[in-house]
Symmetry: C2
Subunit: 304 residues, 2 copies
């Protein structure tokens, strides 16, 4: 008992998303930073952010971040591409001096080694090794030879912000962004491995690859999309355009972990969840995203 | 000039929806009640309501209704199935003594004559006259003989409220409700006549007809769905299950018109539009729903 009570206070990490998608970031954080207390807020009463304007998103994201700070967060992870893309400066200003991590910069940086190595390396190591040597001669390939290019799939608001384009361009990576507004509703319908979702992905990817035939790296710029990764891989294979797939949720968790000192406690991981809409729906849908049951979900009202 | 200035003040009709769908109700109102001033509010910063909880929807709907009352509305039309289904009593209490019309009761009442006449009459007069005489012998029909039944397509929240089921049951009509969460995103993507939308409709209708094989009347319980009416008719024809289609937007406009006295003014129709999110997006998307360009769109902030 005494040993427990004399343990230093664990790091408290506030994780914020408009809804459930950010749970894929939390899922990636848990094994990397185990001895921490997590507070996750899903602003489910006001989701989705992805179709809304910059001003509205910034207002919602700042009020959500303030809640996490009031709960004692030592650092904030904005596990929402849309909020990061459109409101990171506003959130950082509201949180100062608490450090704030977004998902855009880690995602862009994770694209760097894959894209620099070019298409063949990426294909060899990650996505479809069986096709790397043969793909140049396998019929009417959509891609062409040329400079590597990053294709970013994201919500409408994230694409319109061009936050990924700017971050990737600053790293010297040519990039193309593609808005995929139907993917979030399809994931939330649970059609993770469904022919309709495969067809929607095929249409979106064909449209995107027509604009970016040299793309060798695919950046999943929405935290819902990791649940579609197997179907995206199958679709790319069917399109004869295998790519290196970057998951910004995983990249963000690694970036956060790399910025923290080694833990000074061995306390077990604890998680508290807050949602601005129905607790039941959050528990039900969230389980898919977190990969484990959600306990301790509380309802909060952020106004509006 | 004197004649104009001595005209009585036109009736001011407040029309509210969470977004753009209610513009299909306004579109139906304009020819039926031409000498009126319309104030339309789309609570686009907080849409969609269809996936949220009753408490959240009621809070949003009441604050939106109060805005329309503050703007001088003489009557309110809640042109949103979800808000009607989950928050009509709260809105009526907030608006008292201003009359409030929802979309559920008019939609249910419009199903009455069609369903009482049975499938053949409905098919004869409305949907697919060419099939009415032959449909009993045209191969593996999904339906079976029996009592007429109403099938309601709506959002998840509307279905979970069972507001249509209760209204139809009170009218003596057996009913089945089917949640169709992908239809709103597909309409907003502009995929009104798209193979993916046709496939999603086919899946939803097959699932629904497995539960309600006797259904002869299809009630469109979401104001986005009228834009899909041609595709729904085609899908039903392909499923060999033609139905009488009731559009609750049209039914609501007729119910409002029938409760008003003849106009005492011949002033032209005027419309003011308010949106809680981006004006540009509202003008762009709204044009499809209203069937004409939207002028005079103003941004308002309802908090949140």
């Amino acid at each position: 008992m005494n040993e427990t009570s004399s343990q230093p206070k664990p790091l408290t990490i506030g994780v914020f998303d408009s809804g459930f998608g950010g749970l894929t970031v939390l899922r990636a954080l848990l094994p990397l930073i185990p001895h921490a207390h997590y507070i996750y807020l899903g602003d489910t009463a006001r989701l989705p952010y992805g179709s809304k304007s910059r001003e509205t998103i910034a207002r919602y994201a700042v009020s959500s971040s303030r809640f996490l700070l009031d709960q004692g967060a030592d650092i904030l992870v904005i596990a929402c591409n849309t909020a990061t893309a459109l409101a990171l400066p506003e959130i950082q200003a509201a949180a100062h001096p608490i450090p704030v991590f977004g998902v855009i910069q880690p995602g862009a940086e994770a694209a760097l080694p894959a894209s620099r190595n070019g298409a063949n390396d990426a294909n060899d190591k990650k996505c479809h090794p069986e096709r790397s040597a043969k793909r140049e001669v396998e019929g009417p390939a959509v891609h062409t030879a040329g400079a590597p290019n990053v294709l970013v799939l994201a919500t409408t608001a994230t694409v319109q912000s061009h936050a990924y384009l700017q971050a990737l361009t600053a790293l010297g990576l040519p990039a193309t962004e593609k808005a995929c507004p139907l993917l979030v509703p399809l994931v939330e319908e649970g059609w993770i491995d469904h022919p309709v979702t495969a067809e929607v992905l095929r249409i979106y990817l064909l449209e995107a690859l027509a604009e970016a035939p040299n793309a060798t790296t695919l950046l999943l710029g929405c935290t819902h999309y990791p649940l579609l990764k197997p179907l995206i891989e199958t679709t790319l294979r069917n399109l004869r355009h295998p790519m290196h797939i970057i998951d910004s949720a995983q990249a963000t968790a690694q970036a956060v972990a790399s910025h923290l000192p080694p833990s000074s406690t061995n306390q077990p991981t604890t998680c508290n969840f807050y949602a601005t809409d129905s607790i039941e729906k959050f528990q039900h849908l969230g389980t898919n995203f977190l990969g484990q049951p959600l306990n301790h979900v509380h309802h909060i009202d952020l106004g509006g």
